[in-house]
Amino acid sequence: MNDALLEIRNLTVRYPGTTAVRDVAFQLQPGEALGIVGESGSGKSSIAGAILKSLGASARIAGEIAFEGRDLLRLSRADHRAVLGRRIGAVFQDPFTALNPARRVGGQIAEPMVRHLGAEPAHAMQRAIVLLRDMGIHRAEEVAHAFPHQLSGGMKQRTLIAAALACEPSLLILDEPTTALDVTVEAQILRLLARLRQQKRVSLLFISHNLGVVRRLCDSVAVMYASQFVELGRVGDVLEQPAHPYSKGLLASRPSLRAASRGSRLSAIQGQMPSAPRPEAGCVFAARCPFAEPRCTGGEQSLILTAPGHAARCWKAKTLGDWPRLAVEGTDLGEFRPGNALVNTNRLRKSFTMRRGMAAWRPSLANRWPRFRYQPTQVAAVDGVSLTISPGEVLGLVGESGCGKSTLGRLALRLLNCTDGSVEFDGADVGRLSGTDLSAFRKQAQIVFQNVGSSLNPRLSVGEALERPLVLFGLAKPRERRQRVEELLEMVRLPASYRLRYPHQLSGGERQRVAIARALASEPRFVVCDEPVSALDVSVQAAIVNLLADLRDRFGLAYLFISHDLAVVAQISDRVAVMYRGRICETGTPAELLAAPRHPYTRLLLAAAADESPTAEPSADIGAGATGCTFASRCPRRLPSICDTTVPTLRPVTSAHAVACHLDPIAKQQCGTIATASIPP
């Protein structure tokens, strides 16, 4: 029977006090790709760790990992090392720390070849350059001689894949290889991996939290929850007809790339994953499962076959229906109609001085004498952005990391002062507010952050954190404060007893709920949500997005909803603005943007999110495109005569849709005269 490349039987990984992996078994055929999907803490990375023996001294591993006919767990350290790098390659999540900062990239790729294949260093270096070219890197020689800090994240991940493939292994373990990267870069890396799989006939063990990513690359998929495989089958079967309630919930809670109506909500999975699961006492998912009944918690669940080659750890799997949909009470609220502007940004510009103070004094050796000149470096993070948000409206702001979307959010709240332009709130120039007016503005405009780890002061209890805005803005008498805090907790669906907890006693989703409650404590009208769900697991994300939508409807809040995730933005927004390198390149309703994107960058984002082949090349860092369109260097349609010389302005396509592109036919027709007039002679 054994032609399997990798066969794992009864793999169990225990740490003191907890079991990370319980009784996991699967087979991987040569050339096959298996995805393991689960949220953080499900134990998926411990499987990779067990194969690579990188789990540390406190881990106890039991079971069997048969690779090419040998049990890896019973190999000596030296024999195991001879397999690693030679027969098994590995790529990890964070490319930013995975390369040795003190050594040249090429040497790090060549090193396994020298060690395992006995290659001459010079020859290995030549091979490394060839490999880099294989990874789609154009200037391979230069990259090989570069140090890691000189490369972008996507480039680093390519070199790490090259190093993992250096000795032509038969198995490649990928542990969340694209999680730390932007969507467009992620799409490129996934394409690269798919191509390499074809060319090199390498098997993949692909570990991810993202079902969509697994769909693009894998043949079969295992869904992992609380240390167990809960479902296992062909990718198509599992994703189209999930059998286990958890898989159903995961798929349902992921927003699809569709414009959603105001009343629609995501199907969330309530609660959170247990950190010390006890499957012997019943189904580990029962506490969160809408289909649960007393029999589920009666005893240990085992994997049962629901269809040929498709198994789920649920005794009811064959009889379950769809994951229940959520709906808002009453009728659909209909489309949002904007009123008078609540927030208005007017040609907003923010430039940062990268090098200033002492460091700006750059010495030079002109005319043989050392000289010091003051040369501060200016970088525009936000460049001429004009946006309007009406009361009760949700404006989604999408863009990749570093495009200036968070800076824009902070400018809108005057957490940063703008270099040029202005922000108006309720008709008043925010930049000129002071004293009680400023305080009134602060009360009405609040913010929710991305980083759930640092959004709450670790030394303040939840109650103290929520009380502070009440005290500061004089919103509740001392005797009423406690009651008001409990109301706030109830509003974000946390029990009143959480008042006494400290942040480290909360899960990520709970912290985000507290942060939302804190922002809403001052009863604001406008809230900047800066990537509020991107640090959370998929099953928790949906609940937070729903909560934000509910609060919007209940209090008539206006949001500036910032995210890199087009699907999440489309779900909650009334209008979407796409940002690239400090400028808005397209605005419109989600429906229009998704159905008929006009700007090449929007198309690229959409293609990357929808898993089509993106056509643009990786972002090249050419000093912030001061003279022309910032997207020109990546644009497949660029016309140098105009795109490199003139900054495109936002021009309307329909009443609610505008695009900043010289080459857009409709926008060009409408404002043709302006466009030609602005070309310098």
């Binding site: 609660g271 009470e329 957490l415 640092s454 006693q505």
Partner: protein
């Protein structure tokens, strides 16, 4: 508003509550042995120093002419010196001087360093630049040089020594405070405070300080040790506390001449100093393990 499916919120929380507690508990439970040992040594030291006059078997300056150079024994626990003074009694009184020096110097350096560091880290920009440049220049002096310079100008005394060491220790305290403050400044709860329009003193005292002090406690323990040791060097060289005070450094210095005949005169204060320093260092290391989030909270 929301029709929650079948899983009611309360049920979800029923699973959530005990879990969070179980993750929080182990961190509290394990107290490092270094902390226990260090804290006990420091406690004993503080108690004996406070009660030195009561506990000491003889007045520290009482001479027993007939018992000069008496070796350690039941009558004189640590022997006597060249004037027949009881070394053990002098050690006890000396512990007062050493701890006083350590604590005063550290308070002075924290008094200068903490506000400067917090201000630099909080304001960034020009103020930061100016403060840090001044601290850099102070740090560019070899440590002992600055103190010797100050002490050479004026008549030596315990307070002046403490003052000089305090000034010397201010730059490192300032730097640590600044780096911790900068770390915290990037924390989003700081931005939330600014989004509420909190006043400077609230931000510094309520949001920042509670997070800075754990790191400062560790740093302070290092500074006390540094002050005790440097104080000993200075009195050894004759620039610190002046005779006939029962200072440890001074006692070692005086005993040097009789190191072959009566080694206990010099060795005993050294052992006392070693115990003090090790106790405070252990306390600091233990505190670091418990308090410093950068080292402590490993997953």
């Amino acid at each position: 508003m929301l029709i929650c499916c079948t899983a009611s919120p309360t049920r979800a929380f029923a699973t959530a509550v005990p879990l969070s507690d179980s993750t929080a508990l182990p961190r509290r439970a394990s107290v490092p042995t270094a902390l226990i040992v260090g804290a006990s040594i420091v406690t004993i030291l503080l108690v004996t120093a406070a009660l030195a006059q009561v506990v000491a078997p003889y007045p520290f300056d009482q001479m027993h002419i007939r018992d000069r150079f008496a070796p350690p024994g039941l009558r004189y626990l640590a022997g006597t010196d060249e004037y027949g003074r009881d070394v053990f009694s002098r050690l006890l009184i000396g512990s007062q001087l050493s701890l006083l020096l350590g604590v005063i110097a550290t308070l002075i350096s924290m008094g200068i360093g903490v506000p400067l560091g917090m201000l630099a880290g909080y304001s960034r920009g020009l103020i930061d630049e100016a403060i840090m440049r001044v601290l850099d220049i102070m740090m560019a002096f070899p440590p002992i040089m600055l103190v010797l310079l100050i002490l050479a100008i004026t008549q030596p005394s315990l307070m002046k020594t403490a003052f000089a060491i305090g000034i010397l220790s201010a730059p490192p305290i300032g730097r640590v405070t600044r780096s911790v403050t900068l770390d915290l400044m990037s924390g989003e709860f700081m931005e939330a405070a600014r989004a509420r329009g909190e006043r400077l003193h609230y931000v510094l005292c309520r949001e920042l300080l509670p997070n800075v002090w754990p790191v400062l406690m560790v740093e302070a323990s290092l500074r006390v040790v540094f002050a005790v040791l440097l104080g000993a060097v200075l009195s050894f060289l004759g620039f610190g506390v002046q005779p006939p005070a029962a200072d440890w450094g001074l006692m070692i210095s005086n005993g040097r001449a009789f190191v072959e005949k009566a080694p206990w005169i010099s060795l005993a204060p050294g052992i006392a100093m070693g115990l003090t320093v090790i106790g405070i260092s252990l306390l600091g290391d233990g505190l670091r393990e418990v308090l410093d989030p950068r080292l402590g909270r490993r997953q």
